[in-house]
Symmetry: C2
Subunit: 169 residues, 2 copies
């Protein structure tokens, strides 16, 4: 059995999997006669493969009951997928290393700082969204259009996010 505990999300550690979306690091432009700061072009949208288009949705996510057994991971071979939280609470992000199989040693669980969003590169293995504590809304930027953009892989090993993770948030 493997128990996963979150580490703080940093650009370096997350670099193989995607981008961190963070206003502090963004290009800042003063517009609208000085009344607005534009935090410009926050991440790289990669949705054009196979005639794809960019779509924007909202995910309203209930808390994931813990402990949670990780049974299935997923990836989107045709497009990036970004999550921008509408509030300022942390959430968890579970990813795994590259390749068509998942090496469970490569599973990495991250905790955002409450202000970070994330943008998965296409083809990055990840768990579906892990909300904790309360119902939350996220703006999601991903790909619409034809083509099979969801692959799922079942994990045989017993891999848990233990309930004690709640107290570490």
């Amino acid at each position: 059995m493997i128990e996963l505990f979150p580490r703080a999300l940093s650009a370096e550690a997350f670099a193989p999997f995607g981008e961190i979306i963070c206003l502090d690091d963004a290009e800042k432009l003063s517009i609208n006669q000085g009344l607005t700061t534009r935090f410009h072009d926050l991440f790289n949208i990669d949705t054009a493969d196979n005639g794809g288009r960019t779509i924007v949705s909202v995910f309203r996510t209930e808390p994931l009951p813990l402990p949670h057994r990780i049974e299935i991971m997923e990836r989107h071979p045709l497009g990036s997928q970004a999550f921008l939280p509408m509030d300022d609470e942390p959430f968890l992000v579970l990813v795994a290393g590259p390749g068509d199989e998942i090496n469970t040693d490569s599973l990495m669980l991250f905790k955002t700082d409450g202000h970070q969003g994330i943008n998965f590169f296409k083809n990055t293995w990840h768990h579906f969204q892990i909300g904790l504590g309360k119902t939350r809304d996220f703006i999601v930027v991903d790909r619409g259009g034809d083509g099979a953009n969801l692959e799922e892989l079942k994990l045989d090993q017993t891999i848990l996010i233990p309930a004690s993770v709640m107290t570490q948030l």
Copy 2:
């Protein structure tokens, strides 16, 4: 002198100018083992002209001091531009009818209901974002890439949003 007062934003009245972004009207998909409702594909992104690409930014907007004289309107000939509020307060949206000149009789001031976002069609004359009351964040989806995507037009007539509008919000 013309004084502008806001009317409630409705899909019918806003139809010539753009789309209303509203979760209530969206297609709802149950995903993530039933833990997430996906409010799917909320508006039409139109950014591909002249090799454009979709970009996502955050606008952090200070309140517009009232009374405010409307001096300049703008439009984006190469792409749509969407505003999704990160909170649940109303904001104002000022638009004008089609054509290269602005007929001041066509100016329409709308007030959102606190949950609505908006997506301007490309080439729609509009005022820059009108935030009231406090500093607010909006997620903005518009176009990046080469080409002149900003036109501005100065209004000669005296057109005001009066201070009394504040008490009507």
